[in-house]
């Protein structure tokens, strides 16, 4: 049986987090940005559940459940906003959303 270490989960989470941050900063497609945000939130969940399991306290798992529920609400609102943008501007490219400057 292979030993499982906490570090393995933390590194996975850190990699997911970095990919997510890169996606939010570099991607201009609205849906891709939302997916990148989901990646960050899921890296948080991996962290929380891993810490929770290795420490033997339940707080992290409860926290992860809250994160999942709230993330669903957030993405719901986000998709609604992207849809709104598409209806009015016929684009979901965020780089074209720049009517206001200064």
């Amino acid at each position: 049986m292979t030993e499982v270490y906490l570090n393995q989960f933390l590194i996975l989470a850190a990699v997911l987090f970095s990919i997510g941050v890169y996606g939010v900063l570099a991607r201009r497609n609205g849906v891709m940005v939302l997916m990148s945000i989901e990646l960050i939130l899921n890296s948080v969940n991996i962290n929380l559940v891993a810490f929770s399991a290795f420490r033997g306290t339940l707080g992290g798992e409860v926290f992860a459940l809250f994160v999942i529920a709230v993330a669903a609400a957030e993405v719901g609102v986000g998709l609604a906003l992207v849809l709104l943008l598409y209806r009015n501007s016929k684009t979901i490219d965020f780089s074209e959303v720049d009517a206001m400057k200064g």
Partner: protein, 517 residues
């Protein structure tokens, strides 16, 4: 995994005792929000005439339980919403997850008052605008509920849920004029920045939980303040602080603010600029004073940098704005710097309490003068249909009252004695000097220099309104509805009282937070 769950479940589960009295303000707000949403579902368009009245009266109604709770915690007592009976103990012990102390109740009263003024500002704007979306007041109330919860939350989960409860309705409110492209852009930018910030903040929270094994701020404080504190905890603190720096629009996380403020409907802009920002500060204060207490070496330099950068860059960018809302957005960034400044010296035990009440005091005055300035803009825009500073010229000739009131707010924002803003800035300055350290004195110099820069752009708006000629000689008076008059009356009274009689209201903002551990 299963044995872990079994282990944790070992002690017999006992329902915590719930203090319904301490929770009554939240419950009333919750019912108010639910009622407004239900009215919309049942009566649809027919409820249009009464929703704003119900929202306003409801918010006034919330003041009653708030004051009742306030009288109980005024003399240093603390109410715990949840209490647990330990085996063997006779009395239940309060749980630190949701605490109602003096600080919490003062902030709750502030949030509800701000909410009431925003309802007053919205009443005619919403009813007379081209847009009628009945969700407006329901969303507003749920956002206020999130803020009220934030003031009491002393647990990472509670803070996170409160943050989302106040933010998600705010994203929708910013994009509320749904066929207007600017409003879409405002909502989208706010949403992206807000969600990204809360995701980063959550990552920090997960690291904090990992190093301390608890989501409770008092436990975190014991663990991160101790000698065994790790660099991971430091990273966690920085990430969480950065997450809230977005919320309060501190430089370098301020990019969303001007665009969101300009594109959103003006009452919503006032709400975001005041209530949402104050909620971010409440979370920052709770975290600094309870969660990260003892780690001044981490948060003090961070707050120092945020404060100095926000004041300087916010003011310099505000100088070249031609749109009043954008100018207020950058001025808000600068004000954020002033409000953060005391936190840069908060780790010094001797002045920690003074730093806290300075910040709370500034938040109360900031709320009054900023809401007031937006209120005057909303009133003037009923005639000019514009937020450009050039369209406000000559306002004195057709709206002398509004011009005078606006001057009070602008001079208060600039910090001219004897108006409220002056008193707030003076206290920030004096608390920085009291720290008696190089960093404290340096920041005090930055505060002083920035107060002078800020005076320039605030005064130039006032000059435009007083001295210039009205465009096209059009002197038809502005029709100011009663709700706007009430809103302006409340805000101007508070702004003046805080400046002229600070001792009368000083007691209200003189709060202390039980530093954990």
């Amino acid at each position: 995994m299963l044995d872990l769950l079994a282990q944790a479940a070992q002690p017999e589960f006992a329902r915590p005792r719930i203090d319904w009295f301490a929770l009554s303000p939240e419950l009333v707000l919750l019912s108010l929000g639910a009622l407004l949403t239900l009215l919309d579902v049942v009566f649809a368009e027919r409820a249009k005439a009464i929703t704003s009245a119900i929202a306003g009266l409801g918010l006034v109604g919330v003041i009653i339980p708030l004051v009742a709770v306030w009288t109980r915690v005024n003399d240093g007592d603390v109410l715990y919403a949840f209490a647990e009976k330990k085996p063997g103990a006779t009395d239940p012990v309060g749980l630190e997850h949701y605490v109602i102390d003096e600080y919490a109740i003062v902030m709750k009263i502030l949030f509800v008052l701000v909410g009431y003024v925003v309802v007053l500002l919205s009443t005619n704007y919403v009813a007379e605008g081209d847009y009628w979306e009945s969700e407006y007041y329901g969303l507003l109330i749920s956002s206020i509920l999130g803020m009220v919860v934030m003031a009491s939350a002393r647990d990472l989960i509670g803070i996170f849920v409160a943050l989302e409860l106040l933010s998600i309705p705010a994203y929708l409110l910013a994009a509320w004029r749904k066929r207007d492209k600017l409003s879409n852009e405002a909502g989208l930018k706010y949403y992206l920045m807000g969600v990204f910030a809360s995701a980063v903040m959550l990552y920090g929270m997960s690291l904090l939980y990992g190093t301390t094994g608890s989501t409770l701020l008092v436990d975190i404080s014991k663990a991160v303040g101790g000698r065994e504190s790790s660099s991971i905890a430091t990273l966690g603190i920085v990430f969480v602080a950065v997450g809230f720096a977005f919320k309060v629009s501190a430089v370098p996380f301020h990019n969303w603010a001007p665009d969101t403020y300009e594109g959103a409907p003006t009452p919503v802009t006032a709400f975001l600029a005041v209530a949402s920002k104050t909620a971010g500060f409440v979370a920052l204060l709770t975290l600094v004073y309870v969660g990260f207490w003892g780690r001044g070496d981490v948060y003090e330099p961070l707050m120092w940098f945020l404060a100095a950068a926000s004041m300087t860059i916010g003011n310099l960018l505000a100088l070249r704005q031609t749109n009043f809302v954008r100018m207020m957005a950058y001025s808000g960034v600068a004000q954020t710097g002033f409000i953060i400044a005391p936190l840069a010296v908060a780790g010094n035990g001797d002045i920690a309490d003074a730093a806290l009440s300075t910040t709370v005091n500034y938040l109360a005055i900031y709320a009054a003068m900023n809401l007031g300035a937006f209120g005057v803009l909303i009133a003037l825009a009923r005639k000019t249909r514009s937020a450009e500073i050039s369209d406000m010229r000559g306002a004195f000739h057709y709206a002398p009252g509004l011009t005078a009131v606006m001057t009070v707010f602008l001079f208060s924002l600039a910090g001219i004695p004897p108006i409220g803003g002056w008193f707030a800035k003076f206290r920030v300055f004096s608390v920085l000097v009291q720290d008696d350290s190089v960093s404290g004195y340096l920041l005090a110099v930055v505060v002083a220099v920035n107060s002078v820069i800020a005076l320039y752009y605030y005064a130039s708006v006032a000059r435009t309104m007083w001295a210039d000629e009205a465009p096209d000689g059009d002197l038809t008076p502005v029709n100011v509805p009663p709700s706007l008059v009430a809103a302006l009356g409340i805000t101007v009274a508070i702004t003046l009282v805080f400046g002229i009689l600070p001792s009368v209201v000083g007691d209200f903002t003189d709060v202390s937070l039980l530093a954990g551990g």
